[in-house]
């Protein structure tokens, strides 16, 4: 015989089939069901990997879009959506697994063929085999193996990483970088810093700052609209508003500082005189009257006078008067420091509005002030030579029609306008001085004298000071904006190599 070894093996197997042990027929369902479930579960795993990968990609995209659209994104809604998507994915995978899993009829046939059941299982699908139930062999559930494709695993991992990464994306940053959004972050920070500085200044109305902040928040939220020009317009309006607030506050501070300075200088001049000088009492009265006149439009000075009570009286000793003058000078210094803080917030206003700021402040009753100041000046000239600059100092608020003669920052409003940067008579030049390295807004205007400071005459140096004999350097300090003197001094002190 030559039917091959394989054939013989098959034939021998077929011969042994007839002698299989008898089993109850009802036990057939268990191996078939186990076989079916094993295949379905493995197919489910394979399909679930694909479905989950797709769902994770979708969920990641939804989370991204959601977070971009709603900064305060509803976590619960997203979680519910994710759970719903996951359930849908698993349901889809189960549906696919059921579709792909061979039906139980075929699996029973397969078991019949591979378990050598003699055709009973296949026959039982279409005919009654009950008479042979005792001879039907229970098939064994075969071992199942599954190859999990690396591509599916990779897709699942990548999608999971994408989904997780979607939670770590900064929506604000993404929105700013988004094609439909307008980046006003820098402008917002600039305005916020200005408003913070202004908020610390008591002279600025807090309700205006609050309104400006509210407007700024609204503007930032609406900056992703389709009309970015409106956002920039709003920014400009807010910028002008903060600058105006800063300018007003700076003007008030500057006014108060100069009032304190004047009174301090006058007080110091009076304190330097002997107590028995004739007319001292009257001069003190005039000084008090002058202080009250100045305090009428100066809240800081009025507060100071209110706190000092009756200290400014005719019976004050020179020491008391000097102490009061020192306190006023200290107040002036404090006000200048506050003014310096405002410098950043108001720099644009300061640079563009110096001409407007000069001259008459409109804050003082000119006739009363002039009477008191002239009477005080006259008495001082008679009794304290060298202290005659009170009139010049007092005149800063009014000017004399000559630019520069009324103080570096306080030209008259009716002065002739020129754009050469030079004063008409001395040829001094005004230029921008950068306070730190090329930072816009960190600059002050100073005067450059046509002559060197060393060649300044004593007469020139006296200008703008109550007491003369000043040095050229001091004179230069007086010609610099009062609010920036400390900044200029600190700049030169910190940078000795700089001109």
């Amino acid at each position: 015989m030559n039917c091959d070894v394989t054939e013989r093996t098959i034939l021998n197997q077929a011969r042994t089939t007839s002698s299989v042990p008898a089993i109850p027929g009802g036990a057939l369902n268990a191996p078939v069901n186990a076989f079916y479930n094993g295949i379905r579960n493995r197919v489910f795993l394979r399909e679930a990997a694909v479905f989950c990968a797709v769902v994770l990609f979708l969920a990641g995209g939804i989370v991204l879009v959601w977070r971009m659209a709603y900064p305060e994104w509803p976590c619960r809604a997203v979680v519910i959506s994710a759970v719903g998507l996951a359930a849908a994915a698993l349901a889809g995978a189960l549906y696919r697994a059921i579709r792909l899993t061979p039906p139980k009829r075929k699996l029973m046939v397969w078991l019949d063929a591979h378990s050598e059941c003699g055709g009973f299982l296949a026959a039982s699908l279409s005919t009654d085999c009950s008479a042979w139930a005792s001879r039907i062999r229970t098939p064994r559930t075969p071992e199942l193996s599954m190859q999990f494709p690396a591509a599916r695993v990779a897709a699942l991992l990548i999608s999971a990483v994408f989904f997780a990464a979607a939670f770590y994306v900064d929506p604000e940053q993404a929105r700013r970088n988004g094609p439909g959004s307008l980046d006003v972050h820098e402008e917002q920070q600039e305005l916020e810093s200005k408003l913070e500085i202004l908020e610390q200044e008591p002279l600025v109305p807090q309700e205006e700052i609050a309104a400006a902040k509210e407007a700024l928040d609204e503007l930032v939220q609406n900056s992703s609209g389709t009309t970015p020009a409106k956002a920039f317009e709003g920014i400009e309006v807010l910028r002008d508003l903060t600058d105006a607030l800063a300018a007003n506050a700076a003007r008030a501070l500057e006014h108060s500082a100069e009032n304190f300075q004047r009174l301090s200088q006058a007080g110091s001049a009076l304190a330097s005189l002997p107590p028995d000088v004739p007319g001292r009492t009257k001069a003190l009265e005039q000084l008090k009257q002058l202080a009250e006149q100045l305090a009428a439009d100066d809240a800081a000075l009025a507060e100071f006078l209110k706190q000092s009570g009756d200290n400014l009286a005719a019976s004050m000793t020179p020491e008391q008067l000097q102490s009061l003058a020192d306190a006023m000078a200290g107040n002036a210094q404090d006000l200048r420091e506050r003014l310096e803080k405002l410098a950043q917030a108001r720099r644009d206003q300061m640079q563009g509005g110096q001409g407007q700021d000069g001259g008459d402040t409109g804050l003082v009753n000119d006739s009363d002030y002039e009477n008191s100041a002239e009477a005080l000046q006259q008495w001082l000239e008679e009794n304290a030579p060298g202290a005659s600059e009170l009139s010049d100092a007092a005149g800063q608020g009014q000017g004399n029609g000559t630019p520069g003669s009324g103080g570096i920052s306080r030209g008259r409003g009716d002065a002739l306008l020129n754009f050469t940067g030079e004063t008409q008579d001395v040829g001094d030049k005004r230029r921008e001085l950068m306070l730190d390295n090329n930072t816009p807004g960190q600059s002050v205007s100073i005067l450059e004298f046509a002559t060197s400071p060393g060649e300044e005459t004593a007469e020139r140096a006296k200008a703008g000071k109550l007491s003369g004999d000043g040095q050229a350097v001091e004179h230069a300090e007086t010609r610099i904006l009062p609010s920036h003197r400390e900044s200029v001094r600190r700049y030169f002190n910190n940078s000795p190599g700089q001109p």
């Binding site: 015989m1 030559n2 034939l11 077929a14 011969r15 061979p102 026959a123």
Partner: protein, 347 residues
């Protein structure tokens, strides 16, 4: 599928019949030693009412097998030694002018050797195609038509042909179309040394012993009747059909080896033969329904002469038996399209 049978045979009835078949097989194994599978396939062929082509070297027991089968089944046995000058009339018979006792003359039909239950056509490939065709036609029709008169052949009628795979010079290989009329082509090989030792030691001049038991005609008829009641399920029928379809190179279901090495695949007659022989195998195994293992056990013998190989197969030494084995390996009995990546191991 089984149109006649709606339920399985009762175990008691089948056990009786299958015990007859098993006894027949056992007796055959006793007479001829070491050829159990040949005996089994031969009995399956007989139970399937098919003709069997035995191919083997001289002296391996082909003639002795047929003789023993005839004795066991109490059937009329005749043998024809095919030669190139053998005429169809030598097989079929013919009318001979006879002188009657009264002196008259009459043409009287003298039946040929084919009028028997079992015919051994020895070295069938040595006869001329004309003679081969005459016999093969009678095999198919189970009748002989001479001079316009049709004479049926005895029932049962089996042809057990043999051919020698060597000394092919001067032979006439049987055409494939006529080979298809044989149910099986069984390769009869030589037995091993142990079996030869038994033959030499126990048998004088190698003569087989007389059978201790024979099968009666009634019992044979019972077996034939039982064959009709063996249940062939739709799943098994589908398995048979897919095996045959996979053997056709132009069929989409063909396995790669078939596409490469086969010129012509098995005919529908092969599917019928496979189903019938599977039934017989199930009966011989004592089962009322055809199992997949029955199909696998007879498929090589059925397909052996029905897979027409090309020259590429001959160059690569691919045999029909090898291709049959690959067909059985590749064709899934359940026809399941397994989900991708899922593999079922051995049950």
């Amino acid at each position: 599928m089984n149109t006649e049978t709606t339920s399985l045979m009762p175990p008691e009835e089948l056990n009786h019949i299958s015990s007859l078949a098993a006894r027949l097989l056992d007796e055959l194994d006793k007479i001829l030693l070491g050829q159990h599978e040949v005996h089994r396939l031969l009995l399956i062929g007989i139970f399937s009412r098919g003709h069997v082509l035995l191919e083997g070297l001289p002296g391996v027991g082909k003639t002795a097998l047929v003789k023993a089968l005839g004795k066991l089944m109490r059937l009329e046995f005749k043998r024809i030694q095919f030669t190139p000058d053998l005429l169809p009339s030598d097989i079929l018979g013919g009318s001979i002018l006879q002188v009657m006792p009264d002196g008259s003359r009459k043409m009287e039909f003298q039946p040929g050797a084919i009028f028997s239950n079992i015919l051994l056509a020895d070295e069938i490939n040595r006869a001329s195609p004309k003679t081969q065709s005459a016999m093969l036609e009678a095999m198919q029709e189970h009748a002989v038509t001479l001079l316009g008169e049709t004479r049926p052949l005895p029932d049962p009628f089996f042809v057990l042909a043999s051919q020698n795979p060597i000394e092919l010079e001067g032979t006439y290989p049987i055409p494939e179309a006529q080979l298809d009329r044989f149910l099986f082509k069984i390769n009869v090989s030589s037995v091993d040394a142990d079996v030869l030792t038994q033959i030499i030691a126990n048998r004088r001049r190698g003569e087989p012993p007389e059978p201790e038991w024979t099968l009666s005609a009634e019992e044979l008829k019972e077996i034939f009747d039982a064959m009709d009641r063996i249940y062939l399920s739709e799943s098994v029928a589908n398995y048979i059909a897919r095996i045959v379809a996979a053997g056709h190179p132009e069929n989409p279901a063909a396995i790669p080896d078939v596409t490469r090495f086969v010129t012509y695949g098995p005919s529908p007659r092969a599917a019928i033969a496979l189903a019938e022989s599977s039934r017989a195998a199930a009966l011989l195994a004592g089962r009322p329904a055809v199992g997949f293992e029955d199909v696998r056990s007879v498929a090589p013998a059925v397909l052996n002469h029905r897979l027409i190989l090309n020259y590429q197969a001959k160059l690569d030494k691919i045999t029909p038996a090898l291709l049959s084995e690959r067909l059985l390996e590749k064709v899934d009995p359940a026809g399941i399209d397994w989900p991708q990546g899922v593999n079922a191991g051995k049950a």
